[in-house]
């Protein structure tokens, strides 16, 4: 299927959904409105709400806060994950000792940590960053750990035979291998950074997209809730697109599934 056709079909799905939503929430079917506006609002109101946010400019502050929290969570979580992942992979004893605790902490649903972080770090951005960090850290950590451990035996031996010192093996073999694993999970970890920020905001804050949605819910403003959700989705898609660009740049050396072999 050609790209324009595909795109046209994708747009068609959205148009059909929105039209159905608009019709079912305004035109009675057999004397009954199937999507009562109180619970489902309607596309027109949602759209006007989004326009209002952008026209008045209030949305930028919230977007900015959520973006800042996500970036901080991603950077701090990734740094920690890379360092600890490397450390564990190179020191099997340390990894063995901490193994049950790592599993325990990772098994914990992070939402329950939100109130504790709010208590420790206040209602500002840092409690949200902390929540995002606990999510990002483990993804990056597991991937880097795997990346360092799964370096091909032959490639490693080759490095040694070419005369690499331990430090050079780090630089030319372990590090690129770990990074490639980390980048392969980039979409997931960036996504989780955003999830951490928004969930944190939702559970208690004074700014951000999560706060916006929570406020609208508080006054049964369904149009506001939907508007917040749409802005959040667009925000995540934009970030994801950025990640794809970065990934393409950094992983050129990797065969992709569509590559012919040989």
């Amino acid at each position: 299927m050609s790209r324009p056709t595909l795109f046209a079909l994708q747009v068609l799905v959205a148009v059909v959904c929105i039209v159905l939503w608009q019709v079912l929430s305004t035109v009675p079917v057999f004397g009954k409105i199937l999507l009562p506006p109180f619970f489902f609002s309607n596309p027109f109101d949602v759209f006007s709400q989004i326009v209002k946010w952008f026209a008045s400019g209030v949305i930028w502050k919230h977007l900015g806060i959520t973006l800042a929290e996500s970036i901080l969570a991603f950077v701090i979580g990734s740094l920690g994950g890379v360092l600890v992942g490397f450390w564990f992979a190179r020191q099997p004893l340390v990894a063995a000792v901490f193994d049950p605790y790592v599993k325990m902490v990772n098994a914990l649903p992070r939402v329950v940590l939100a109130p504790i972080f709010a208590l420790w770090l206040g209602l500002g951005i840092w409690s949200k960053v902390a929540l995002g960090v606990t999510l990002v850290f483990f993804i990056v950590f597991f991937n880097v750990y795997q990346g360092v451990k799964e370096v091909s035996r032959t490639v490693l031996d080759n490095g040694r035979m070419l005369g690499m010192s331990e430090r050079q093996l780090m630089q030319h073999v372990y590090w690129p291998s770990a990074l490639s694993w980390m980048f392969s999970s980039l979409h997931t970890s960036v996504g989780f950074a955003v999830v951490g920020a928004v969930v944190g905001e939702y559970l208690g804050s004074a700014a951000g997209l999560g706060y916006l949605i929570q406020q609208a819910e508080g006054v049964f403003d369904v149009a506001g809730v939907f508007a917040g959700m749409f802005v959040l989705s667009a925000f995540v898609i934009l970030i994801d697109f950025g990640v794809t660009l970065v990934e393409r740049r950094l992983l050129v050396w990797r065969p992709t599934a569509s590559d012919g072999r040989g």
Binding site: G159, M161, G163, H172, V173, P176, R254
Partner: protein
Amino acid sequence: MPTAVALEDAKVAFRLGDGRVYTAVEKAHLAVAQGEFVAIVGPTGCGKSTLLNVAAGLLKPAAGNVKIFDRPLAGLNRDAGYLFQADALFPWKTALDNVAIGLEIKGTPRAEALPRAQKWLTSVGLGAFAGRYPHMLSGGQRKRVALAQVLIRDPKILLMDEPFGPLDAQTRQVMGNLLLDLWNADRKAVLFVTHDLEEAIALADRVVIMSAGPSSRIIGDWRVSLPRPRDIFEVRLDKEFHALHREIWSVLKDEVMKGYAQSTQAAEAV
């Protein structure tokens, strides 16, 4: 001629997961003189790669000695370049960087290493592929890059483990001639492992035969006195080549059968 590599009654054993000990090589006695091209031939699983690993210092023999230029080998063999059986290029480096790394490790500045790497790529016929990553190269091209990667460091000893193994017959012959040309330039000591007897005779000064494993040994050692420089295509038509091939094959054939029988028995036992 000084001896480049000497294995003196080397024995290699592996500890298996269940605690048993598997003796791969019982006793290997082998000397490679400086400038000599020695080929090791034997059935699969007889311990050819294992012997090379011992010569490289990647594996310690359970008994016996390894001497490199008459000095006992401790740790890795720093005089040797190793062309591995499996793909060993760094997948995240371009062909050019893969070759240049051998010099950069030694502290050669990058600006100096890159043009030299380019020259080596050209001499293995890949001058136009410098910017490709390994996954964008064919199997034969990857082996050439690997050869350049090893040769750029100018090792005194070259260890090669079935370097042309996975390649098709034509490519093997082209690669064989390329190797002979490069080797002719400075005649390094070469220990070349292959399962292809014809290839061994065409390339080497001496052909060494190993028995089927486990506890394999070196069971034969033939001198190949075909004149050099040789051309792989033409040397195969030589009368002496055929006589030697028949003679060595009569010994090797039994071992190949034994090796095959053992490998199927082992499979049935599991």
